[in-house]
């Protein structure tokens, strides 16, 4: 029972990271119906910005995270402007292929510029402490990840539910044409969506740096895919769905590597994806809408 609770503690902090990344997927999908394949790689860029902010500028972890969020928000807006906007009216396959292209570009331009080697996230920025709570070992990095992720999600909820921008985002995702008629600038709203989603991914990137302690240019692929699975699991396009999906994926993964084979860890995510897509493609919270001709 104790081990089980320990796995839950580990799973929750990992799940918080997945949930943050999944939010970006789900927001972008909700608004322009595009699986932003490059999202995981934006996270990787965030991790590198955090890394350089700590090692070269000597900032603390919070400032590093904010810097990563800011820069990645700009990167997200730029990606949308350059690569996705020209394709807004073309087929979804074309947009998807472009997204794959952007993803590969971010990965390998980082390899070219910074080299393929793994880098160790500085320990000095975040000395690890372990707390003992009724027999459970809780690391301070787990608390840090969980608390900051939940905080960011609350801020996101506030933006979406209470601000004018959030209202515009909801309107555009519901019906783009009607939103235009109501005087909402669709371009601006989509830019804001990319900015917020990418900032969340960047925060997740710094968290992964703290959590796993190493970063490399291809680190975005697998967490990105898992977060995508989380978004589909919760019902893609739905913000609460992405949060729940992220936590479920995190818990599932720690359970599988805790009790089963860690070699199968990555296969489990894909297995879940396939089962969801075949049984309930709209996800746990999604509504089924028929195809209109």
């Amino acid at each position: 029972m104790l081990e089980f609770s320990q796995q839950i503690v580990n799973g929750l902090s990992l799940g918080a990271i997945y949930a943050l990344i999944a939010l970006g997927y789900t927001m972008v999908y909700g608004i322009i119906k595009l699986i932003n394949f490059a999202h995981g790689d934006v996270m990787m860029v965030g991790a590198y910005v955090g890394f350089f902010s700590i090692t070269m500028l000597g900032t603390n972890i919070v400032v590093a995270m904010l810097a990563a969020m800011l820069l990645c928000a700009l990167l997200g807006v730029l990606i949308e402007k350059v690569a996705y906007r020209p394709l807004r009216n073309s087929t979804r396959i074309a947009a998807l292929i472009t997204a794959i292209g952007v993803s590969l570009f971010l990965e390998y331009i980082t390899v070219v510029v910074l080299g393929p080697a793994q880098r160790v996230f500085p320990q000095s920025a975040f000395p690890i402490k372990a707390y003992n709570l009724a027999g459970l070992t809780i690391l301070n990095k787990q608390i840090f990840v969980f608390v900051s992720a939940v905080l960011l999600m609350l801020i996101l909820q506030y933006i979406i539910k209470r601000t004018k921008t959030g209202k515009a985002m909801r309107a555009v995702s519901l019906d783009m044409e009607a939103a235009v008629l109501m005087g909402i600038s669709v371009d601006k709203t989509i830019s804001v969506t990319f900015a917020i989603g990418s900032a969340l991914a960047a925060a997740a990137g710094v968290m992964i740096g703290v959590y796993y302690q190493t970063i490399n240019p291809l680190m975005g692929i697998i967490p990105g895919l898992k977060a995508f699975v989380a978004a589909v699991l919760g019902g893609i396009g739905l913000i609460p769905g992405a949060m729940v999906g992220g936590f479920v994926m995190g818990l599932l993964e720690t359970m599988v590597s805790g009790y089963g084979s860690s070699l199968y860890r990555d296969a489990v995510a894909f297995g879940v994806l396939i089962i969801i897509l075949l049984i309930r493609p709209t996800g746990l919270f999604g509504k089924n809408t028929g195809e209109k001709v």
């Binding site: 292929i97 390899v111 897509l277 001709v293």
Partner: protein, 317 residues
Amino acid sequence: MQEKKNKSWLSFLLEVIVLVALFTLVQYALTVGLINQSYQINLVTMCINIILAVSLNLINGFTGQLSLGHAGFMAVGAYVSVILTNFMEMPFIIGILGGCIAAGIAGFIIGVPTLRLKGDYLAIATLAFGEIIRVVLQNIDYVNGPAGIVGITKLTSWPWLYWTAIITILVIVNLMNSSYGRAIISIREDEVASELMGINTTKYKVLAFIIGAMFAGLAGVMYAHYFYIIKPDTFSFLRSFDMVVMVVLGGLGSTTGAVIAAIFITFLTFGLQKYAAMRMVIYSLILIIVMIYRPQGLMGSKELSRKTFSRIWSGKK
């Protein structure tokens, strides 16, 4: 009428002569030693890439079902054939057939459930299945898990490569010229409408998927029996992306385009051998730029064929 028949016979004969001449020329160059080791590898990769691009084009281009799991079928073909030829010591032809059939069965098993999905969901599901094949291979001790199989007998030779690539092209071109092909294209153009016209869309989608998978398996067989070593990581989704780049560049739905793009990409890879990362940057830029400025690819859905040449010959537009 008689004259027309004679003419088509003549051009058929011409084609056969061109194909055999090309084959003999390269064979001659190989035996005399005009082509050095690194160019030989390039030649082999080119033929394998042609098989992969043409077969993936059947699924992605003609049927319009974006698949990102082609490397998985290649892996199935490679592993099954190596088990047959090296572990069980059967002749190469059995390995080829076994590899193709196994990949086809994998295509059937994966195709039936996933092809109910559409567009980007299908793409992700095929990607997931491709990765699952890789992870499963990593966990089978019989094939040495992540370390892979080393010391595979080199059975792939120029005649095998050349004629299998030609057969791949012929099968797919003829399939697309048949009523099956027209049904397949109608699915790409408008799935709902073709279903209303009485076409069993699932049947044709699965059929295209199986045929594509079988040829991917064939490419895997050729790969395994030339490069001495196979391991699960050889067939990761990055390799699937390579194939997608070829198909997209050549034009979704053009066999000629797929062949040209496969040749081009092979030479590009060869030229940038020392700069592996730069190669991927160039690939990604190709994907983005082609999609933004020429989403139909190099050839669109046009083909270069006998007709095109005879049209140019007679000066008609």
